[in-house]
Amino acid sequence: MKSVNVYQTAIMLFIIVFANKILLLPSLLYRTASAESVFCYLIAFTLEILLLTLFIFLKRKYSTSFSSLIKAKLGKISMVVFYVLLMIFFFCKCVLIYNVTYIFFKDLIYKNSGSFLFIICFLPITNYLAFSSFRVLGRTCQIFFPIILVVLIFCTVTSLVGVNDIPLFFTTGAGDVFLATIKHISSFGDFVFLFVFMDKIEFKAGDGKKLYFFALIAILFVLTLAVAFYFSYTYTSFMHPYAIFETMGKVKDYGGLGRIDSVAVVLVIILTYLQMAIYLKSFVCCFCEVFPKLNSTYALISFDLTFLAVVYLLIRNLEKTVLYAESVLPYFSLISFFLVPLCAIIFLVAKDKKEGK
């Protein structure tokens, strides 16, 4: 697998920050944490940045892959268990991001179209990107990055123009804020994909700053959009499930498509393709580590079959997707926010001890 430079990695990081956070999440958070939902973002993003910091430290100290590290330090079985869990994590995230986008489009545009049409649109392209080398994915993200950035700036500015109200603050306590964060923690923890591709990222001294910069800029965009959303809709925020689409001023005033809200649709389409591709690529990478004798074709076939079964049988509407996101996925976030950091800390500390001796 060909490697990618740190700029492409930073772009992928930038793209993955938006996964699940600018459509459904703001309204779901508001149900529990009201206007204090912004603090949920801050808490979860702080954890994400800590995860990124661990990755940068680990990358500086080790040039091998994360799987080799686990194998060397904790044994092969631990590595297999670990990577199986990561596989499940990336699979679940992919299902979630697909469903949210699918329901978004079905609700707003393609009311009478079936899931099959969307699967035909999304799966082949994401499969292709996952099947190709990591560099192809990195370059694809790089090509789309200027478009994403321009559309994001446009959406953010438009959203801010629509702000005309002040929500009621301090109605929820710290307990509600933490409860909302835990319930929706599965929408975060995306930086863990960096660990999977640790050995495929060309990393020089000082490159960490680029990663921090891109991650923080993306976080700033997400926070600005969330704040604009809460200030635009205040008490009815929970009734608006598609945040970025609905914060566009014209949508709020007049409703319907055919105006500037279609700009947000473009952004959602591009982001969904690339985010799904990143998750799928991570899944394929984990699969190949767990089953070293099988190649990526098997990984993709396994993914597609399971994906179709889950999408068709389990998740068909917004309510079920929300239930899935709130009750099933948070457990898998333990992988990104507990297991991976724990391993990274162990490896960093172990190395330090060795150096001390």
Partner: protein
């Protein structure tokens, strides 16, 4: 061909494309157009029916592909035990699915607001096809008759009835009235919201009129089938008031409102029979009438009407909130060096309201600082002779003082009205809580009746008037 196949198999994405074309391309060619499946609804009317049923009226048109595109509107009425059931019946009558994506207006009879309107509105909100920016109108007439009148509006005049209240929030005399604004108020701490009220009166001298004469009467006899409506006339006496809005002096208006109401009651009894005959899928009635959007609104608490507010009441409330862009302030019997017993009409060019809160001995004091930029545009007195159009441009200090007093008293009236009905439309609670959360909590706990907190809040109004 062999080369072509080998190329196809080298690029798997082309196979996918081929697959998509085969699966979707050919069936799409033989599929009916969506416009053949749906009846496009542009307005919904809700009335309370007999036996606790919902009487639903839909202003609908069936898109027909012809050389000239024509919107053939029809009011379809159906009853059901719930809105959804009535909607299904309406679909059955029409032989098409009901498409709500183009609904711009929901007309609800005031009977619903005497109890709890949110129950009936709930279905419309849960069904995601209705945008939350859809306007809500409360009316004293039957919603079905209201839609009948809407149907008769002449589309050639370019005035769309859907738009009647779209610009309400721009004027000082009225308020925004959408599902969004309604639910924002309902879900706020004090559960208070405003809904625009539009009367439907017969033979009115003002308002947006649906005349039953002309081509429309023919349509009426055809069971309500109309071709783009007809016979809209706008009363010339409105003197350029937008969207048929008219503002009359407070007393006069009240009298007129009473008169309209009594005449309308008589009409309602006639219309009642008529609509019964034409219900269950029948077309609209043949009555004309005028829709009067004079800024009147209803004040709701917990989605239940607690008061009916006149445009003057709305003016007083809006002055305190600053939530408008256009409006006038009139001073009667004003005298100074230039004028003698004159009526001065000031156009509000701009307004900014800053609200600050401070607590003194546990009691909140809200400082409302207004900056009002006005222009004197009309002056009327018996002996006033205007030689040049700049004669009344300069406003004396006395006029500014009179205007300041007028604004102060108007705001005081507005606040007293909200105190009386215990409705926090001005979002004072949000202001208190956001600026002083702990003091606000203490203050609220100290009150015997939290719902009446506005009475314990001191307001200090300091308007600054600028002549532009």
């Amino acid at each position: 061909m062999k080369k072509w196949f080998s190329h196809i198999f080298k690029v798997p994405m082309l196979l996918v494309l081929l697959f998509v074309v085969l699966i979707y391309g050919f069936p799409a060619l033989g599929k009916d157009a969506e416009v053949d499946e749906f009846a496009i609804v542009t307005a919904i009317g809700l009335d309370r029916g007999e036996n606790d049923e919902v009487d639903l009226s839909l202003l609908t048109f069936m898109p027909v592909a012809e050389q000239n595109f024509k919107e053939n509107y029809k009011v379809v009425k159906a009853s059901g035990k719930s809105v959804l059931e009535a909607m299904d019946y309406a679909g059955l009558y029409l032989g098409r699915e009901i498409g709500l994506n183009h609904v711009k207006m929901v007309v609800i009879n005031e009977d619903y607001f005497t109890e709890n309107a949110s129950v009936e509105m709930d279905y419309l909100v849960r069904d995601k096809s209705l945008a939350l920016s859809t306007s809500i109108i409360c009316t004293d007439a039957k919603a079905s008759e209201f839609l009948d009148a809407v149907q008769k509006m002449d589309s050639s005049s370019s005035i769309k009835v859907d738009d009647i209240i779209t610009f309400n929030n721009k004027y000082i005399y009225s308020t925004e009235s959408t599902f969004e604004s309604f639910y924002k108020g309902l879900y706020s701490k004090t559960k208070s919201s405003l809904v625009s009220f539009i009367s439907l009166v017969d033979n009115a001298d003002e308002g947006l009129t649906a005349d039953s004469s002309g081509g429309q009467s023919q349509n009426g006899s055809q069971g309500g089938q109309s071709s783009g409506g007809s016979g809209q006339s706008q009363n010339g006496s409105q003197g350029g008031q937008p969207n048929g809005q008219s503002q009359s002096s407070k007393g006069g208006q009240k009298e007129q409102g009473e008169a309209n109401k009594s005449s309308q009651n008589e009409e309602q009894s006639q219309n009642g029979e008529q609509s019964q005959n034409s219900s269950q899928g029948g077309g609209g009635g043949s009555q004309g009438g005028a829709l009067i959007n004079d800024g009147k609104s209803i004040l709701c608490k917990n989605a239940q009407m607690v008061a009916s507010l006149s445009n003057n009441d709305m003016k007083n409330i809006n002055l305190a909130s600053g939530a408008f862009k256009k409006g006038t302030i009139i001073i009667e019997n004003f005298s100074d060096d230039v004028f003698k017993n004159a009526r001065l009409t000031f156009d509000i060019q701009n307004i900014s309201v800053r609200r600050k809160v401070q607590f003194k001995n546990g009691q909140p004091i809200v400082n409302l600082s207004l900056k009002l930029y006005v222009k004197l545009l009309e002056a009327k007195e018996e002996d006033l002779e205007i030689k040049e159009n700049i004669d009344i441009k300069n406003i004396s200090k006395k006029a500014i003082d009179a205007l300041t007093e007028k604004v102060k008293s108007s705001i005081a009236d507005g606040i007293n009205l909200l105190r009386e009905y215990r409705c926090d439309i001005l979002k004072i609670y949000t202001l208190l809580n956001n600026s002083h959360p702990f003091e606000t909590k203490k203050f609220m706990e100290s009150l015997e009746d939290e719902g009446n907190f506005l009475s314990s809040v001191i307001f200090k109004v300091s308007p600054r008037i600028y002549s532009v």
